[in-house]
């Protein structure tokens, strides 16, 4: 089945078996192997990408259902030089084996947008208003991305630093 979408600002057309997940389309048909398959069932977050600006698990999505969508993967987070978020991950050792990292980065990017949009979380004391990127808010909002190396302290420090950099510029 043919369909077209935009991946990392570049339009792409594919002709795929409808069974192919967005994740496998990216990895095996577009050669964008930065996005990882950790569980293939939406239980680890390693496959997180941004679709139309929102973070989703690309493993639980059919590629053909993304006709016309804009997809951003880890390869699209930077243009040659590392983004502040990527650089902060290196600085704070927000990874060890690196396998969950692309998903963490895409998830963090989407999550910062959600905070910006004023979305509450499970641990928010109140459902009205603005939310700060506190340790608890950050941890809860990033809990859909498992890291077995358990670099959560580094991941969280990196995200906070990048968010502050972003805010200050």
């Amino acid at each position: 089945m043919k369909f077209s979408f935009t991946v990392n600002r570049r339009s792409r057309s594919l002709d795929l078996d409808p069974r192919v997940s967005l994740l496998d389309a990216l990895r095996d048909h577009l050669g964008l192997t930065g996005t990882k398959k950790g569980c293939d069932h939406g239980q680890c977050g390693a496959c997180t990408v941004l679709v139309n600006g929102r973070r989703i698990n690309s493993c639980l999505s059919l590629a053909v259902a993304h006709e016309g969508d804009e997809v951003t993967t880890v390869e699209g987070l930077s243009n040659g030089t590392l983004s502040p978020l990527q650089a902060a991950f290196v600085e704070h050792d927000g990874f060890q084996c690196g396998f969950c990292t692309p998903g963490q980065l895409c998830s963090a990017t989407g999550m910062l947008g959600e905070i910006e949009a004023g979305w509450p979380s499970h641990i928010s004391a109140s459902l009205d208003g603005e939310y700060e990127l506190s340790q608890d808010e950050l941890s809860e909002r990033m809990s859909g991305n498992l890291c077995r190396c358990s670099c959560y302290p580094g991941i969280n420090a990196a995200i906070r630093q990048a968010a502050e950099t972003e805010r200050d510029t």
């Binding site: 939406g42 989703i56 639980l60 979380s121 499970h122």
Partner: protein
């Protein structure tokens, strides 16, 4: 995954007719459907994509709210009207899954979320829900997260949703369009079936029936709580959860609607429980009596015995908080 025909429906009528065949599935968020299709626990021969039918609106409907079937969990949880007037729904949604999954999962899909029973997921073990008449592997097996209310000799699978628990406490109705275009509307209690001897039939939906949305009536209580107990701090299914909608008048409980997750084969609500509380002044004794009514009907299976004392304690804490 078994091969299937993928159809991107152009409008609801086309979707319904495309799905009227015996083995079709509507694809909305896909977070549970594709999960199960990958394991061939579900194997539709036609997948009808309804994600672009414009069924995602969240609209005022008199003093209530109409929520489109494909409104995502994220959008629904963040909707300011929901946050203000039906906060138990926001809370339940936010307590479920992960940020990524909530961005994809939808209202209609979540209502149809299937059990997490590990034997249902394991195609090498018999399961009556997956293959009618095959037998139930959970009975006599590992039952830590199974249902203790509404079970039968054929199935003890738990309904895993958080959202649907809140919707039950809010007296939500489910709106359905049948294959022939007729509209139907169900109370949540009628929408879900008990397993009985047909655990594979979980709702009243017939082939081609499309959930178009749900309707929340005006909130009947201003004190709304969703409390969920789980094995880790986030991203885990409920061991026990309670959605409570309470209104207090002159120190008495004027309206009580409680629904439970982690306990039932469907999002659970017990009318006797609500009735017992209504009109009464809150007290520890009253709460315990109500818990006796609810949990007196429970049948546990060893691994899930703990749910009875756990539910009792959570229930008491929620009622204390809601009636303060």
């Amino acid at each position: 995954m078994r091969p299937f025909d993928y159809i991107r429906a152009e409008d609801p009528a086309a979707a319904r007719s495309a799905a009227a065949g015996s083995n079709a599935a509507f694809l909305s968020g896909g977070t549970n459907l594709l999960d199960l299709m990958k394991l061939e626990v579900m194997a539709p021969d036609t997948v009808v994509d309804i994600s672009r039918l414009g069924l995602d609106a969240i609209e005022d409907d008199g003093d209530g709210l109409r929520i489109g079937a494909t409104a995502t969990n994220s959008d629904l949880a963040a909707d300011m009207r929901v946050r203000k007037h039906w906060p138990v729904l926001s809370r339940a949604l936010l307590a479920g899954a992960s940020g990524q999954l909530r961005n994809k999962a939808t209202t209609g899909g979540n209502l149809l979320q299937r059990t997490r029973c590990p034997y249902f997921y394991d195609t090498d073990t018999p399961c009556n829900k997956r293959t009618p008449g095959e037998g139930c592997s959970a009975i006599g097996g590992e039952t830590r997260n199974h249902a203790i209310l509404g079970t039968s000799d054929h199935c003890i699978a738990l309904h895993p949703s958080d959202m649907a628990v809140a919707l039950r406490a809010l007296d939500t109705t489910v709106e359905v369009e049948a294959a022939d275009g007729t509209s139907k509307s169900y109370e949540m209690d009628d929408f879900y079936r008990l397993p009985g001897d047909t655990p594979h039939r979980e709702t009243v939906l017939e082939a081609g029936d499309l959930i178009t949305g749900v309707r929340l009536p005006a909130p009947k209580g201003d004190r709304q709580i969703y409390r969920k107990v789980r094995d880790r701090a986030s991203y885990a299914f409920a061991l026990v959860s309670v959605a409570a909608v309470i209104r207090m008048e002159n120190g008495r409980i004027a309206h009580a609607a409680l629904a439970f997750g982690g306990l039932g084969t469907k999002p659970w609500r017990d009318p006797d429980f609500d009735t017992l509380l209504t009109g009464e002044a809150p007290s520890r004794a009253l709460f315990d009596e109500a818990a006796d009514v609810l949990l007196g009907r429970a049948v546990s299976h060893g691994g899930d015995d703990f749910k009875i004392p756990m539910a009792r304690r959570v229930l008491r804490a929620v009622l204390e908080e809601a009636t303060q």
